[in-house]
């Protein structure tokens, strides 16, 4: 299973879930496409500028391989303080 998380504005559109990824979803970019195909509204939000992807709690500078046991988080623009 792969854990998928959503934060900020994205968390209004999708719940955290544990999924078995299809065989062709092997990196974070393919995962984004797969999630977008399942839910057009979420897909639109994931395509917005400023969305970051974290793999196992580290923000990715570029798409990276993903598989069972990983935790992938889609992050709306950060806003603390």
């Amino acid at each position: 299973m792969t854990r998928i998380l959503f934060f900020g504005r994205l968390s209004d559109l999708a719940e955290a879930e544990d999924v078995s990824l299809p065989a062709d979803v092997t990196d974070t970019e393919a995962l984004r496409g797969w999630l977008s195909a399942r839910d057009a509204r979420l897909g639109e939000a994931l395509a917005r500028p400023g969305i970051k992807v974290a793999l196992n709690q580290a923000i990715l500078p570029a798409p990276a391989p993903v598989g069972p046991g990983d935790e992938v988080a889609f992050l709306s623009p950060l806003s603390g303080g």
Partner: protein, 156 residues
Amino acid sequence: MARIDARVTRNPFDPETEEAAFRASLVRSGALVAFTGMVRGEDGSDPVTALELQHYPGMTEAAMRERAEAVAARFDLEAVLAVHRVGRLAPGEPIVLVACAAPHRRAAFEAADMLMDFLKSRAPFWKKEHRESGPVWIEPRSEDYEDARRWDEGTP
């Protein structure tokens, strides 16, 4: 290296109680700069009724510590404190406290300033304002990103 205390709390916290304990721990500092951020309620015709703060448990605490370490690596500090509230907050409630203690005042000021800039746009927190007109997710303004960039290596 400075002592670092970085925490996320779901419960309300009292900035002055935290600061008093922080100050009591100091042995070589002549300067302490503390920043407290509070939920602003009054804001024209559409007041904020509550602020909701989300974090990414685990990642957020690690990021706060990492940001505090970056600040401590840059300035001569004795200690750094960062406390960040999450959950649902009422107007007037403290959101964040950052305190930096140093032998000299310029380091204390700049360190607190830098750490706040980092927490504002480079730590995994998300803010949703509940207004009378409905909820609004808050995103950093372009000046928040610029403020944080001031401290980047190689930035003019």
